[in-house]
Amino acid sequence: MQTFAVSPRLLGMVGFFALLLVALAFLGRVPLKYNLRNLVVRWRVTVLTALVFAVVAALLTVMMAFVNGMYRLTQGSAQPGNVIVLSDGATDELFSNLAYGDTSDLERDPPNVLRDEEGRPLASWELYIVVNQPIPESSPLHRKGHHRRFLQLRGIKDPVLSARVHGLQLHPGGSWFSRAGVRDDPDGGKDQVIEVLLGEGIARAMGTDVGKPSLAVGDTFELGPRRWVVSGILTSAGTTFDSEIWAERQLAGEKFGKELGYTTLVLRTADAEKAKETATWLTTNFKKSAVMAQTETEYYEKLNETNKQFLVVFVIVAVFMAVGGVFGVMNTMFAAISQRIKDIGVLRILGFARWQLLLSFFLETLLIALIGGLIGLAVGSLANGWSMTSIAGSGMGGGKSVVFKLTVDLNIWLGVLTFILGMGIVGGLLPALSAMRLKALESLR
């Protein structure tokens, strides 16, 4: 996963390859046009071989875009200055239990916590619940076989503060839920409806249920034994909050059996360094109750475990395909060489050295790889921006359901190109070596 964060390393690798290629192209005396024209003369086989590289490149691009998109999502969700506090021993928000008595101390005691204009600590008290929502039978999703979805409900003490801590705002037209958290049923029902803020992703998903592109302010939906109304939509794109529903904590809790307490506390400090300090202080020095604090960056990094597992699977698949492709290109080049034995003999007799011939055929293979790779990259990049759902979790099954976009960026381009060139190098080496070893005059007899 570090490969994606450290673009300089990739850049370095590709730079090295590029320099190598350029150097080789200059060192070689056999004119490049000889290779190019031969590729054109046997264009059918050239195209077929290039297509193998193209297919591998395209698939790799899409798979990497998936992993990249997930990674960006968790990266984007973390505020560098935030510290997330769970109860000691809780591996996940779901299992965390911050007892009610700790509240104000946890806000006031730790160092570095920023305050707002009224002097209140920037602390977000949250109750994280995962709830089952049956998908209505009228929904097109139900007909496709999806009968339930897992919703992430966050009971919030103060939405304005929480949004601020997480760096979220409301889309125009919405409003924060009121103190009471309820309002009268717009559809005239006798029970009041619970006000919620929705992430953009979940608003879209639930909109599908009723045939709209997205739920909007004022729309209602059913969850559990109550009805709920959308009071605002959060600017959550690119974060894990995209799939969350925020409601007043008391109401959310009592509907689902968690009357008291919170699962999560997020504190805002000025920057990453301060956050680390605060987190360490809380874990070691806060004696009033057992808590576990970490920076949000660390916390989200752990959520990447499942993503890393996906990456491993993708890489294994890509390597298998690459080996197959390498065998394919070896076929092509062996045949090309045996067909051009006379040319090799002539060049040798004219004075070209063995290694120069090796280089020439090697470059020819790399040319095919490059052409195919670029085509594949272009095709695979068309997937950029596609919306996907997946799981972000600790890797042992279960986790948060998240919505993100396939992301093709420079890192992917560089990575795929390097992979393809690597294939070309491995596939081209043996045939080029064999070209080098042919005895010149024998081939001319």
């Binding site: 004119p31 046009k33 000889y34 031969n38 040319d343 070209f352």
Partner: protein
């Protein structure tokens, strides 16, 4: 070997089919530290000498047998060697083209002072030589001076390449 190599002319021309006449002739020069301009001068000179300046940009597939052989000769002389070894240069040509090629080779010998060592089965081609060495099973059996002149460069044994 390399030095001698620049001076070989073959029965089957052995040109690279994907390169033009110009590019084929240029090949030996690519191994020398010459600038592009110098190379151009030498190639055009060589192609001029063999009378193919108007067909520089044609590929071997677009040239007749005789023309291809001339390209082969041009390639052999482009580095201005003193000795040219020709292995059955007329073997694949019809009578008329063969005559043209032999005339060209003689011109190179007389006009440019190049020494030409030719191996051939073709008696008509052999008649153009100043000196003929007959070999049978690799052993010298007879020696003629075709024009009655003793050749300048004495060769006692046919080099077996």
């Amino acid at each position: 070997m390399a030095d001698e190599a620049r001076r070989l002319v073959f029965q089957f021309y052995h040109l690279l089919p994907v390169l033009t006449a110009y590019e084929n002739v240029e090949l030996p020069l690519l191994l020398l530290p010459l600038s592009a301009d110098e190379r151009r001068r030498q190639v055009t000179t060589a192609l001029d000498l063999v009378g193919l300046s108007d067909r520089m940009w044609h590929r071997p597939g677009q040239l007749s047998g005789g023309q291809q052989q001339r390209v082969g000769i041009a390639r052999a002389i482009v580095t201005d060697p003193t000795l040219i070894v020709a292995d059955e240069p007329t073997g694949d040509l019809d009578a008329k083209s063969a005559e043209e090629i032999m005339a060209l080779l003689t011109e190179l010998q007389k006009g440019l002072g190049k020494t030409i060592l030719m191996v051939t089965h073709d008696p008509r081609a052999a008649r153009w030589a100043q000196r003929i060495l007959h070999l049978e099973k690799g052993r010298l059996v007879e020696e003629d001076a075709a024009d009655g002149q003793v050749a300048n460069n004495l060769v006692t044994e046919a080099p077996k390449s």
